[in-house]
Amino acid sequence: MKNYLVSCSKGQMKVQQMAFVLVALVIFFVIIGLFFLSISLSSLKNSAQEIREKDVLESIKRVTSIPEFAWTIDDCASCIDMDKAMAFKGRASYVGFWDYSFFRIEKVYPIESGGECTLYNYPECNTLTLINKSIIPDSKSAFVSLCRYEPEEGYYKCELGKVIIAGEAI
């Protein structure tokens, strides 16, 4: 009777040992799995960010050919129609149309005193902000010509400007 009890608890010990080993093994493999998962997820996030940045760079290159801003009166590959951009500003239907968090057209030369362009101070103004969800440090910019109709002179006038675009953060 005594023998039986002893050997019974030995068996239980073995089962417990096995259970602990199995649990330890499972935890070990889960940790390894999580480690690989975090590495692959971070590389996935990086490549998604790279693609997004590439898209923004391409967008910067083709911003002057977007019909909503393009200067179509003469052949000019790097000109923006500021009159059209002013008319476009505030069009509610375009919310979410471009995947940007920030889109601004800035006058580089000559600098005016007006600040942000409105219907009251245009064209004596410096910036036209079309999208301003958040300012992201890695925004991209390109120099362009900002063209408009000049009524007093009766001709089209172009000034030096730049476009600043930032993509949505991932």
Partner: protein, 318 residues
Amino acid sequence: MTSNRLININKKGLEFTFAWLFAIIAGAVIIFIAIYATTQFIGTSKDASNAKITGEVGSILESVETSLEEGKQIKIEFPDETRIYNRCDDFGNFGRQLLSVSVRSGIGNEFQRSENEQAFFDKYIFSEELVQGKEVNIFVKPFEMPYKIASLAYIYSENYCFVNPSGDIEDEIRGLNLKNVNISESVGGCARESIKVCFESAGCDVNVNLEEQSVTKNRIKVFYEGDSLMYGAIFAEPEIYLCQVTRLMKRTGELAHVYSLKAEFLEGKGCTTGLDNKMKIYASNLANVESDKDDIKAIGIESTEIRRSNEKLSCKLF
């Protein structure tokens, strides 16, 4: 003695059975979890890889639109047989172009369709719903009505044979040097496997009626206005073509509003264009276009009138 022996036998049996039972159950659970996790991981990896390639195709399209504005073609080569799924959604202010790519893999489902479709509001892709191949051809043409609205991208992987196209179309195809598009004087001169496109006669896979400005494909007749849309009707599935035309009409309407505002703006500067009202009427007519009817012809006539009025202006709208 007998009692001792019995106890011994029972003791061994109890130890063996319980340990094995536990090991089998625990082992089965672990193996099941391992297999489940592995299949899930492979599926997710495939999905991620497909999503990455979709993003890259989107980037290529972006750069193609920039560099091939005037209408040229490029070829995309994939590492393995690839499917491009083109889906069009005309809901909302501009509708959406949905794109996903699936590369063939040797494990499980050969072509696992990515659940993460990439959506574009400013892209218009004319192709079959599924384009498959190790290499695909893309060419781009601007669409104007009467002002520039968008760049249209045409994607195809199969061989096309254009039978008796008009002189202009033939010149353009030769000028673009379109890969896998041949020109023939008769249907008999086309390669057997190619998709035949007839311009002056019927009986081909795709029949173009230049007088009526219509294209019949898969027994569905669609109407077009201008060469850009004609190519769209030839290369795209009729349902995709109609959806893209609806989206293009929506964008044209929104641009008409922008030009109408610009006309008012110029009027404030002292330059009367007289086009602000015309643009508003044009925008409201565009909102009522039904792409499956020949409404697009009437829009074409209206756009020509607007173009003529604009050309006469000293301060042009576009």
